[in-house]
Subunit: 323 residues, 2 copies
C-alpha cells in the first residue's frame, strides 16, 4: 500500500460522524467493505453510518445485519465512498452528496477521482482487499466482525475465489482473515447458494426459451415481462440467470435479454474466455463493461433486440465458430 | 508437517518405477494429488504412472491430460496410494495391489493405515494440501504443472474454498500455488461450471419430481431409471443433483434417491448446517459419511425408499421444524 494512500486513510481515521456511501444496487463487495469500515469507526467509539440508494438484495442482508434500506442518520463531518467508481453510481437518493465526497476507497481502474482524496488500487480483487491492506498498513485491529465483512466483500467480488481477479495476494489476505473467528462457509452460502424454491422452478421454465445459434457457440435467453408475471418472479429473481446459462458446454458468448418495465431490453453479456470481448458488443448499443462481463440497454422490441444482438455477436465471432 | 511423515516421504522420493493408486470413481482431489506426485517423480527423471478402477469423469480429464482410463504401465518397485482411506476404496481392478501398498498419503481421519508407511493428516482440507506440505517440508520444487494439479485438488475438495474444511492454512497454501503460472479460473470452470446443455435441461425437468415435507425443511428428489432413460441421461449426469437441491431456501435436510441399474435406491444426503447430522440417517440404512454429507443404499422400491427415508429424517428433525 503506497504511503500517500496510507496518509489519506490515517486522516480519514481522525474523523467522527462518518457517512459511508455505497453505489446503487450495492453488491457484496461494496456492502462488506462499507460495514467493515463502519465497524472500524465504532471500535474507536465514533459514529458512522452507511447510506445507499434503493433496497439491499435478500442474499446480502446478512452483511447489513438485516437492514433492507440504508439511510444517512446524522449530519456528517466527513463523507467517504466505498467501491464507487463515479458520482453517477451513487444513484438519485445520494446525488446531493456527489460533490462533497472527501475520500473514495475503490478498486476500479475507471474511478474518476471525484473525491478530495482518492485511494484507488486497480490491481486489487475488491474494495475489501484495498481496505484490508489499508487497515494492516495503518495498524488498525481487525476484529472478528471486520474480518467477516471483509471476507464477504472479497468472496463476493471474486465469485468465491474463482474469477481471474483472484491473486496470490487475495488468498494471502483471506488466510489472515480466517485466523479470526467467524462462519465463512455460512457467509458464502448466504451470498451464493441459497435460492427460493420458486426461483429454481422459474429458472427451469425459463430454460425453455433458450435461443441457440452457431452450433451452440452463442446462447441467448430472452426474459419477457409476461414470463416474469406468469412466474410471479421479480427482476431480482432473474438477475443471476446469465450465470446459469454461461455454464453451458461449448457456449463462447451468452446473454440474457430482460424486458424492462419501460418496455426496453436490458442485456447482460458473458464471455467464456478472454478471447471474445463482450464489452465490444455492449458498446454497439451504448453500453460497456469488462472483456468477460458487460451490459447494455437496447431500446427496441424483444424480438428485434434478440436479432440485433445476435448479429452484433456474430460479426465478432471467429469464422470457425460461426454456424 | 511432522518429522516421521517427512522421513517417510523422503524415503518414497528415493524410488523409481512408482505406481500411484487412486480410489474408485476418483475425484478432483484424488486425481490432482496423484498427477502432481507423478510429475514430482518425472521431474527427477523417474518413471511413474497413475492407476484407477473405472473411467475418469469428463469434468476431471483436464487433470489427467485427457486420459479417460488409468492403467498400471510397468512392474512397480514401489506402490503409493493417494486419498485412499481403505483398501476397499481401490475398487476391483486394483484389488490385487491392496496388500502391497508401501505408502499412503491421505487426509481422511478414517484411514485404516493399511500401508507400510501411512502419512495421514486428518486436519488437512485435501490430499492436495497434505502433498503440498510434504513437498515444501522436503524442499521439492513445485513447478507450474505441480501447482496446477495441487490447486485442482484443493479447489475440488473445498468446493472452491467454500466448505468448512477450508482453513487459513488452505488459503495460505493456495496463495503460494498461485505464485506459479497457470490458469486457475480455467481449472475451476472445467471442474465445477461447465455442463452440457442436456444436463442443464435435465436438471430443470427433474425438479418437477421434488417431494417437499415439513414446510420445506425436508426436500427429497427421486430419480428413477425411467426418468434417466426419458432424458437420455447417465448416472454421471445426475451425480451432482443433490448440490442443486441443497440450495433451496429453508431446506434443513435434502437428499437425492437414485434408482440403480440393479433396482436398488442410492441415497445422497446433505444437511444445511452442522446441527442436523445426516450421517445418523445414513447409518439407519447401513451407510455413513460426514455430518453434512452422507450416503447409503436402500434395497427397496423407490416409493418405499422415499417413505422410509422421510421417516428416518423426521425422527431426527427438531420438533419445531416438523410440519
Amino acid at each position: 500500500m503506497n504511503e500517500s494512500y496510507c496518509a489519506a486513510f490515517r486522516e480519514l481515521l481522525t474523523y467522527d460522524d462518518v457517512l459511508i456511501l455505497v453505489h446503487r444496487s450495492p453488491d457484496g463487495d461494496c456492502l462488506g467493505s462499507a460495514f467493515a469500515l463502519k465497524r472500524v469507526f465504532e471500535n474507536m467509539g465514533r459514529r458512522a453510518c452507511v447510506a445507499a440508494t434503493g433496497t439491499v438484495d435478500r442474499n446480502l442482508r446478512h452483511i447489513t445485519d438485516g437492514a433492507e434500506e440504508l439511510k444517512p442518520r446524522f449530519l456528517p463531518s466527513v463523507i467517504v465512498s466505498v467501491d464507487v467508481a463515479t458520482k453517477q453510481m451513487l444513484g438519485p437518493d445520494l446525488a446531493a452528496y456527489a460533490d462533497s465526497v472527501d475520500f473514495s476507497i475503490d478498486h476500479h481502474y475507471t474511478n474518476t477521482e471525484y473525491a478530495r482524496e482518492n485511494i484507488v488500487v486497480g490491481a486489487a480483487s475488491s474494495a475489501g482487499e484495498v481496505l484490508y491492506d489499508l487497515l494492516v498498513a495503518c495498524n488498525v485491529e481487525i476484529d472478528d466482525v471486520i474480518a467477516e465483512k471483509l471476507y464477504a466483500a472479497i468472496a463476493f467480488d471474486t465469485g468465491c475465489f474463482r474469477y481471474s481477479n483472484t491473486t496470490a495476494h487475495t488468498h494471502a489476505v483471506t488466510a489472515d482473515l480466517l485466523r479470526r473467528s467467524f462462519d465463512a462457509p455460512a457467509v458464502v452460502r448466504k451470498m451464493f447458494d441459497i435460492v427460493p424454491l420458486s426461483q429454481l422452478r422459474m429458472e427451469r421454465v425459463a430454460m425453455d426459451a433458450l435461443r441457440i445459434y452457431d452450433n451452440g457457440a452463442v446462447v441467448l435467453l430472452p426474459i419477457t415481462r409476461a414470463f416474469l408475471e406468469s412466474q410471479g418472479a421479480t427482476d431480482e429473481d432473474v438477475s443471476n440467470m446469465v450465470s446459469l446459462i454461461r455454464r453451458i458446454e461449448g457456449a463462447a458468448v451468452c446473454a440474457t435479454l430482460k424486458e424492462t418495465k419501460e418496455g426496453d431490453v436490458k442485456v447482460s453479456l458473458r464471455s467464456a474466455d478472454d478471447v471474445f470481448d463482450v464489452s465490444a458488443v455492449a458498446a454497439v448499443f451504448g453500453g460497456g463493461g469488462h472483456v468477460k462481463a458487460s451490459g447494455c440497454l437496447i431500446k427496441d422490441t424483444m424480438e428485434n433486440a434478440v436479432e440485433r444482438l445476435r448479429l452484433a455477436i456474430e460479426d465478432r465471432l471467429p469464422s470457425e465458430r460461426r454456424g
